[in-house]
């Protein structure tokens, strides 16, 4: 098996899966009906993308794993998502800003994957990017609305920005696996994406009337399986059914 490609797929999939789960927690709890439906729709898209990626990973692994076993039977240290996506839904400003910071990265990444030398990944990207364009429209519009809204909304998104922005650097810290993917023309050069990313984020935040926090970048390690304590709680809920009733199916 192509172990590095397999691990790369887990990295890609885990970001969408963990963020998708976070958004699903808001089902029925959104601040208004429209935002509730929007956030859970985005969650559904993310899970759709994860299914495609994990089905492909299972195929690479000669079906010794399945999309379900990959999703439900790994522990914290075997998850490779960035730490940003596991941060909690503290309030609507945190939810929106976390979403925007991720969407911006995902859009650049998928844009590269449209030319990936891996045909299946290319097909998945072509499918996913159409949805991600809708997601970033939603999240960036709301960033502007909160930033330029009332004093309360401005303060709330400023607090969220100070907490979440420092996590963004992790997207671009190239692991050995990603380095190999870049050399094989499968994955992007993250250093190149970094420049574009922070340019775009800075422009949007300025439009929203927000300033870039001066706080240093935070500890990272998600891509190596080292996470914040939040991930354990997420998995405890996410994997509950499979662990309680092994091999159950809906």
């Amino acid at each position: 098996m192509d172990q590095n490609l397999y691990n790369y797929l887990l990295m890609l999939g885990d970001n969408s899966m963990i963020l998708g789960h976070r958004l699903s927690e808001l089902c029925g709890h959104g601040p208004s009906l429209e935002t509730d439906i929007a956030l859970t729709n985005i969650s559904l898209d993310l899970f759709g993308q994860v299914r495609n990626i994990f089905q492909y990973a299972a195929k690479l692994n000669d079906q010794e794993s399945s999309e379900d076993s990959i999703a439900f039977l790994r522990n914290e240290r075997q998850h490779y998502n960035c730490i940003l996506v596991e941060q909690p839904n503290t309030d609507f400003a945190h939810v929106i800003l976390r979403q925007y910071l991720f969407d911006q990265f995902q859009l650049l990444q998928l844009n590269f994957l449209l030319q990936s030398k891996d045909e299946q990944l290319k097909a998945i990207a072509a499918k996913s990017i159409k949805e991600t364009k809708y997601h970033i429209r939603f999240s960036s519009e709301w960033c502007k609305r909160l930033g330029q809204g009332t004093e309360i909304s401005h303060n709330k998104i400023t607090t969220a920005l100070e907490l979440l922005y420092p996590f963004c650097n992790e997207f671009f810290e190239t692991t050995e696996v990603e380095k190999e993917m870049m050399e094989r023309g499968i994955g992007p050069n993250l250093e190149e994406l970094r420049v574009q990313y922070f340019d775009n984020v800075t422009t949007l935040l300025n439009e929203a009337g927000l300033s870039i926090p001066q706080t240093p970048f935070r500890v990272s390690g998600g891509k190596h399986g080292r996470h914040s304590e939040h991930l354990g709680y997420i998995l405890a809920e996410f994997q509950y059914m499979q662990k309680t009733y092994p091999n159950m199916q809906w």
Binding site: E34, I42, L44, D45, N52, A126, K130, Y134, R137, F138
Partner: protein
């Protein structure tokens, strides 16, 4: 250029037309454009099915319904999910678009107009109740992944709009 015209055995059309989208029951899988190939090889029907949205839960149901419909006509079948080329609303048949509108869902506009309606708030989507175009977007995300929620400012009724996906 990848061909976007699906390769469908004419003998199967009658059966496939009976299988509908579970969330939009007026549309058959052919109207929806999700069947990219349906051919009979060695007495087995081979179907290539493509999803509309990646997470669309209707896909699993459609697979099961297809198998069942073919079985009732004494066909064994093999269904394969294909992602490329990615589905677009351009593949909705003209008949399908007319059916959508009659059912109460405004069919997708072209890409440029869609953007104007959803992003710039231009009043161009036609109300499915009173045909007025004096309508506004309430939410870009609607009751399913493929729809946005609109309201007519003349008759005041809400209605769904099938988003353009390119």
């Amino acid at each position: 250029m990848v061909s976007t015209l699906p390769n469908i055995d004419p003998d199967l059309i009658g059966i496939l037309e009976q299988v509908s989208d579970p969330e939009i029951p007026v549309l058959s899988v052919l109207d929806l454009g999700v069947i990219r190939e349906a051919v009979i090889r060695d007495e087995v029907v081979h179907i290539k099915l493509t999803p509309t949205y990646t997470g669309c839960p209707a896909m699993d149901t459609i697979s099961v319904d297809l198998k069942q419909a073919l079985q009732q006509n004494n066909f064994k079948s093999k269904i394969e999910l294909v992602l490329s080329p990615a589905w677009t609303t351009d593949w909705l048949s003209p008949k399908g678009k007319a059916k959508l509108e009659a059912y109460g869902i405004a069919p997708p506009l072209g890409e440029e107009l869609d953007k104007k309606a959803l992003m710039d708030g231009e009043r161009i989507v036609k109300c499915t109740h009173c045909q007025s175009t004096n309508t506004k977007v309430i939410s870009a995300f609607g009751s399913t992944a493929c729809k946005a929620l609109f309201q007519c400012l003349d008759c005041l009724e809400p209605f769904d709009y099938f988003k353009c996906l390119k």
